[in-house]
Symmetry: C2
Amino acid sequence: MKFRIDPLPQPGSYPGTAIVVDVIRATTTAALYLRAGAKALVLAPGVEVARSLRQDGEILAGEVGGLPPEGFDLGNSPREVGAVAGKTVVMATTNGTRAAHAALGARHILLGSLQNAQAVAEVAAGSGGEVAIVCAGKEGNIALDDLYTAGVIGRRLQALGFAPEGEMAHLALFLAENPPLPVLTASEAAKALVAVGLGEDVAECARVDAHRVVPRFLGMRGEGMVFGL
Amino acid sequence: MKFRIDPLPQPGSYPGTAIVVDVIRATTTAALYLRAGAKALVLAPGVEVARSLRQDGEILAGEVGGLPPEGFDLGNSPREVGAVAGKTVVMATTNGTRAAHAALGARHILLGSLQNAQAVAEVAAGSGGEVAIVCAGKEGNIALDDLYTAGVIGRRLQALGFAPEGEMAHLALFLAENPPLPVLTASEAAKALVAVGLGEDVAECARVDAHRVVPRFLGMRGEGMVFGL
C-alpha cells in the first residue's frame, strides 16, 4: 500500500484516507479538546462562521493573530483546553479548516499532529486503501512545520508497511530525520506565536507520540466539519 | 548578511548574487566542462536553440530524456566531459537554463552543485551583498535534489557568517542534514536517469566538495548565457 504527502491541499484528490496536518496549532489542539473530554469538535472556516455555528452551551474557540477574538472562550492554545468535558467545541481555524475541506470526499478524514503521530498512522493503516497526508500550509505557502510533521507520520506509515509515493513524500521523510523542536521553532507559524508571547505552545506542539487520540470526520454542520472519536 | 533559498525560480527578484542549482545534471556537468579545460560554456534553452548558437569548432552538448540528441557531441553526463579542452561548449538544458534566465539582472550569477558547494559558497560570500540560491526544479515542480543541494551550499554560507532568511531556507538546511546519495537517489531526476541506464551519473552528482570550479555568468550570446571562470 502507498502513501503520498501533499505540501499544500489539492482539493478533490483524496479518495482514500486523508490525514490533515496543521501542527501549529489547529490539529494539535483539536485532538487535545477531544482528549480533554469534548463531545465533538466543529471546525469552522473563520471567526464569523464559528460564531454563527455555535449552539447554546457550546464552547467557542479560535484565534486571530494567535489570540482569542472577543467573546471567544478559548484561544486554540494546546496548553489551555481545560473546561471542555462533555461539551461541543466550535473551533475557528483558517488554514487547518481549508485543508480539511480540501479532503472532503475522502473515505476517512483524520486530524494528525506530532502528538498523535503513531496513533494516526495506525488508524490510517487500519482503514484500508491509500493514504494521503495533507499539509495545511500557511496562506497558500508551504509550511516547514506541517511538512516535517507529515514526514514523522510518514515514517510511522513506512514502519507499518506503506511505501512513499512521489518526491514530496521523500522530501518530508528526509526532513523528519531531524529532531522536532528545532524544526518547528524555525517555522513562520512558531515565530508568529513567539511574537505574541505564546512560544511555549511551540514546545507543546513538538511533543511526539504524546497521546493516542485521533479526531475523525463524522459529518457536516452547515459550513462546519464535525470531528469526534 | 543574509541568504535565501527559492525552491523554484522567481524571475526578476535577484539583485545580489544568485547561485543557480540544477544538480542532476546541468550545473554539475557545466562546472566539469570548465574544469576539463573548456574555454567557455553557452547555456541554451533547448536543443534547437543550442544548434543555432553553435559556431564552427564548438562542442554541442545536450540531452533529451537523458541521452544526446542526434548530431550532438556530448550528452551532459558528468562522466563524459573529456574532449572539450580549449573549446567552447554550447550546452542545451531546459530547467537549468530557465533558472539561470530567471536570475538575469543579478550582479553575479554562479552555477552551484554538490561538487563545488564549498567553492561556490566562498565565491558568493566574497562577492558582497545578499545571496539567493535558485533551485531549477523540474518542469515547474520543486525538485528534492536541487533543494537538498541548496541546503548543503546554505550550510557553507552559514559557516561563512550568512544567516538564512525565510522558511524555505530553513527547510533546505534541515534537509541537508541527510547524506547526499540517498536523497539524490530518491529524486525524480535520479529515477529518470536510472531508467535510461545512467544511474552512475547520480553517484557522480552526489560527490560533495569534489572540486573548486565555479562557473560565472559573463554575458549573452543571443538567447544563450555565456559562463566561464
